[in-house]
C-alpha cells in the first residue's frame, strides 16, 4: 500500500509539473500573439500612410506616390490589416488556453486559423517585397525603371514597413510550433 501511495504522489507531482509547463507554453503563446499584433498593425499603418509629392512638376511625369498606386502594396495593407484583426480576436482564445486545462479541440482550431493567416501574411509581405525590390533596382531587361531615384522617402517607408510583416511571419511560425507542442503533451 505504501508503494502504491508513493506512486500516486509521484504521478500527481508529475501532472503538476507538466501542467505548469503547459501553462508556461500558453503564456508564451499569448505574449507572442500580442507582439505579432503590434508588428502587423505597425506595418499596415506605415504602408497606408505613404504619401509623397515632389515639389516640382511638368506636364508629362507623375510626381505623386502612394501605396494605392501599386496593387501589390494595396494587397499588403489589406493582408496585414486582416491578420492584425485576427490576432487581436484570437487573444481571448489564447487567454482561455492559459486558464483551462483541456484545450485540445480549440487548439486545433487555432492551428488551422494560424496556418491560414500565415499564408496570407506571407503572401502580402512577399509580393510587396518583390515590388519594393523592383522599385529599388528596376529591371534592364524589361525596361522597368527604378522609381526610388525620384521618390526617396516613399521608398524608405515602403521598405521599412516590410520588416514588421516579416517578423510577424516568424512569430506566426513559432505560434504554430507552440500550439503543436502543447497539443502533443499529455495534459
Amino acid at each position: 500500500m505504501k508503494s502504491g501511495q508513493a506512486e500516486i504522489m509521484e504521478t500527481s507531482k508529475g501532472i503538476q509539473k507538466s501542467g505548469l509547463m503547459s501553462r508556461r507554453i500558453a503564456i508564451l503563446e499569448f505574449i507572442l500573439r500580442i507582439v505579432a499584433f503590434f508588428n502587423t498593425i505597425t506595418s499596415t499603418i506605415l504602408m497606408a500612410t505613404t504619401n509623397e509629392t515632389l515639389p516640382f512638376f511638368t506636364q508629362f511625369i507623375r510626381f505623386h506616390a502612394e501605396y494605392s498606386d501599386l496593387p501589390a502594396l494595396t494587397f499588403f495593407v489589406v493582408a496585414n490589416a486582416v491578420v492584425s484583426g485576427y490576432l487581436i480576436l484570437s487573444l481571448p482564445l489564447a487567454f482561455v488556453h492559459i486558464v483551462k486545462s483541456k484545450t485540445q479541440n480549440s487548439r486545433i482550431l487555432l492551428i488551422i486559423l494560424d496556418v491560414a493567416m500565415l499564408g496570407l501574411v506571407t503572401a502580402g509581405a512577399s509580393s510587396a517585397a518583390a515590388i519594393v525590390y523592383l522599385a529599388h533596382k528596376g529591371n534592364n531587361n524589361t525596361n522597368w525603371f527604378s522609381i526610388c531615384q525620384q521618390f526617396n522617402s516613399f521608398c524608405e517607408r515602403i521598405s521599412g514597413s516590410l520588416i514588421g510583416s516579416f517578423i510577424a511571419v516568424v512569430l506566426l511560425i513559432l505560434l504554430i510550433l507552440l500550439s503543436a507542442i502543447a497539443l502533443s503533451r499529455r495534459h
Binding site: G4, R62, P71, A72, L134
Partner: protein
C-alpha cells in the same frame, strides 16, 4: 485451526497495475488505426506536393522565349533569369521539392509508428517553414507576373506579355502550380496537427 475466510485479499499494486494497463491497450489499438490512416493520407499528399513543386520549378526554368525577329534596340529574348524574382522562385521551388523528397522517410516512420509524436512534431515544424517559404516564392512571382501582364501606369512600367506571350503563359502556369503546392502544404500541416492530438 484453519482460518477459512471467504475474504479475498487483492494486493493494491496489482489492481492498480491492471487498471493502468487495460485502458492503454484499448486506446492504443483504437487511435492507432485512425492515426495510421492520417499518416497514409499525409504520405500521398506529399507525393502530390512533390509533383506540384517540381512542375513549378521545371516550367519556370524552361520558360525561355526568343522572338523570331530583331532590331538593334529592343530585347527579343526572355527567360526566367531576366527577373531576379523568378530566379528566387526557381531556387525556392527546387529547395521545397528537395525537402519534400527528404521528408518522405519521416512520413513512412509515422505510418509504421502511428503513436509516436516526435516524428509528427518534426514534420509539422518543417512543413510550416516550407509552407512559408513556398508561399513567399509563389506570391512574389505572382506579383511580378501580374505586373508583366498588366503593367503599371503610375510608375511607367509597360506590360511585357504583349510581346512575350509564351514566356508569360509558362511563367504564370508555374506560379499556379506553386500555389497548388501551397494548398497541399496547408493540408499537410493541419493533418499533422490533428494527428498529434492525444486521447
Amino acid at each position: 485451526m484453519k482460518n477459512e475466510s471467504t475474504i479475498i485479499d487483492v494486493p493494491a499494486e496489482s489492481s492498480s497495475a491492471m487498471k493502468g494497463k487495460a485502458p492503454l491497450i484499448g486506446v492504443a489499438s483504437g487511435s492507432g488505426g485512425y492515426k495510421r490512416g492520417l499518416s497514409i493520407f499525409d504520405f500521398l499528399l506529399r507525393l502530390a506536393a512533390i509533383i506540384a513543386a517540381s512542375v513549378a520549378a521545371g516550367t519556370m526554368f524552361t520558360s525561355d522565349e526568343t522572338l523570331p525577329f530583331f532590331t538593334q534596340f529592343l530585347q527579343f529574348e526572355a527567360g526566367y533569369d531576366d527577373l531576379p524574382t523568378y530566379q528566387f522562385f526557381v531556387i525556392a521551388m527546387s529547395i521545397v521539392s528537395g525537402y519534400l523528397v527528404l521528408s518522405l522517410p519521416i512520413s513512412v516512420v509515422t505510418i509504421v509508428r502511428p503513436l509516436a509524436t516526435a516524428p509528427r512534431l518534426l514534420l509539422l515544424v518543417l512543413d510550416t517553414a516550407a509552407l512559408a517559404f513556398n508561399m513567399a516564392a509563389a506570391s512574389s512571382a505572382a506579383a511580378i507576373s501580374y505586373l508583366a501582364h498588366n503593367g503599371n501606369q503610375n510608375t511607367n512600367w509597360l506590360p511585357i506579355c504583349q510581346q512575350f506571350g509564351d514566356f508569360c503563359l509558362k511563367s504564370s502556369g508555374a506560379v499556379v502550380s506553386s500555389f497548388v503546392a501551397v494548398v497541399f502544404f496547408t493540408i499537410l500541416v493541419v493533418l499533422s496537427g490533428v494527428a498529434l492530438k492525444r486521447h
